[in-house]
């Protein structure tokens, strides 16, 4: 009796995983390269806003606010790699082809971003201002930069005030 219940649970669990993975890959597969470019640019724009917000809030001493912004980035980080289907270099994208040539490194960079954002969120939650400021100081270079430096053509000059 117990064993059959376990078997059913495992089978159902397995089915759920298969469906979930299937849906996720269908979702990505459905996306055209152009759509992927548009979606990831939206995601990166949101990250830029969150990072800008985190810096402003750190300066203002609003650590709870920093934690919220950092959490947004940590959640967004999980969405990065599926938005880079092979060869999605259509239109106005700053992605470099090296992304697909060095995919494991690219994945590691996205993971690094997720971990750094999580670290910033968790540190900000402890209300330790000094430790949070120390992370904020290096975050741009270490979290965003680990991907942007090798895998992105620097954005068009003519930088404007955000």
């Amino acid at each position: 009796m117990k064993r059959s219940a376990l078997r059913t649970t495992v089978a159902l669990g397995g089915l759920a995983v298969v469906i979930a993975v299937g849906c996720a890959s269908m979702e990505t597969a459905k996306m055209s390269p152009g759509e992927a470019v548009a979606e990831r640019q939206k995601l990166m724009k949101a990250n830029g806003e969150a990072w800008k917000g985190a810096q402003a809030k750190a300066k203002a001493g609003d650590l709870a606010g920093v934690a919220t912004e950092a959490d947004t980035m940590a959640q967004n980080a999980k969405k990065i790699t599926p938005l880079f289907p092979p060869g999605s270099l259509e239109g106005k994208t700053a992605a470099k082809k090296e992304i697909w040539e060095k995919w494991p490194e690219f994945e590691a960079s996205a993971k690094n971003f997720e971990m750094e954002a999580g670290k910033l969120r968790d540190t900000a939650k402890t209300s330790n201002k000094e430790a949070t400021d120390a992370l904020v100081k290096d975050f741009g270079r270490k979290a965003c930069g680990s991907c942007h430096t090798p895998f992105r053509v620097p954005p068009p000059p003519a930088p404007s005030k955000g």
Partner: protein, 307 residues
């Protein structure tokens, strides 16, 4: 000979041997630098962007200063030199003066000219004291035995084209008696000579010399094929809308006012290797910002090249 005389003789011999060993241990070129001089040298090293051209990028990164980074141009192909203190493949056997001569005049100890990918016409504007401490720091970096791949230059480049270009076209910075210490003058010194911003950010003339009439006006075809932003104070195509505080923040952290971060070669020089722009003091970063605000604005929208 009495035993006392023997002891004295032995003591003298020990002293003499000790002195010889001591002299040999000194770096070629003079007295050992103090820790403060080495620290100052590291600061200058950071202000150049960590002499980043001399470290090959990659994952994992190659040892700092061990050279081998490839540069291609109308002149042919060259590789940055190993500038670690390795005696065989680096600059371990060069005197301080020889290293300084190569840095600012572009001449090797054997008289050969360096290809000006190494921007000696700009480094010529560095103060003597800054070059001296920079050399002291370079000698403290771990030596790496890594031969620099041979250069492949187009015919007659070294014998005719380069000397002619240097004489006729290359603008040259001139060294101040001492490095300015504050304000826009300090910023100008750092921008022009040490951080060599114009090498990437100034457009180039037909002869590939930097076009200083459009100083820092951006270069669509910059080093390694990358487009280099216009960093003059033009509000539409340059960084006129950035405040001095924002420019200083960017140089120290890579963070832009709009939430983006530095990428590409700029990220490399901000991060540096053993030190970079990020290690500049806030006062120096603000001095750079102050100077950048005084540069004549150039209207030049730099477009990204096609991938």
């Amino acid at each position: 000979m009495t035993s006392r005389q023997t002891v004295s003789l032995l003591a003298l011999l020990t002293l003499a041997v000790g002195a010889v060993i001591g002299l040999l241990a000194l770096p070629v070129g003079g007295a050992a630098p103090t820790p403060a001089e080495i620290t100052r040298g590291k600061y200058v090293f950071g202000a150049t962007g960590g002499c980043g051209c001399h470290t090959e990028s990659g994952n994992p990164p190659k040892p700092p200063n061990s050279g081998g980074r490839k540069y291609e141009g109308p002149f042919g192909t060259v590789y940055s030199s190993n500038i670690t203190p390795d005696a065989k493949t680096g600059i371990g056997n060069w005197t301080d003066e020889q290293i300084i001569t190569a840095t600012r005049l572009g001449r090797r100890p054997n008289g050969e000219r360096l290809v000006p990918v190494h921007p000696y016409t700009v480094f010529n504007g560095m103060a003597a004291e800054d070059l001296r401490v920079l050399v002291s720091f370079l000698r403290t970096v771990p030596p790496v035995n890594r031969p620099t791949p041979p250069k492949k230059l187009v015919p007659l480049f070294e014998s005719i084209a380069l000397p002619a270009w240097l004489a006729a076209f290359a603008p040259r910075e001139n060294p101040p008696a001492a490095a300015p210490t504050t304000g826009a003058a300090r910023g100008e010194y750092l921008v022009r000579a040490v951080a060599h911003c114009g090498e990437c950010h100034s457009p180039r003339t037909l002869t590939q010399a930097t076009d200083n009439s459009r100083f820092l006006g951006g270069n669509a075809k910059g080093p390694e094929g990358a487009a280099m932003p216009n960093i003059t104070p033009d509000p539409e195509t340059g960084i006129g809308k950035w405040s001095e505080e924002e420019i200083a923040e960017y140089l120290g952290s890579g963070n832009k006012p709009d939430g983006d971060v530095a990428g590409g070669l700029m990220a490399e020089v901000i991060e540096g290797t053993l030190a970079g722009y990020k290690d500049l003091t806030k006062a120096d970063r603000l001095a750079i910002a102050k100077f950048l605000k005084t540069v004549p604005p150039v209207k030049n929208r730099v477009e990204q090249p096609k991938k």
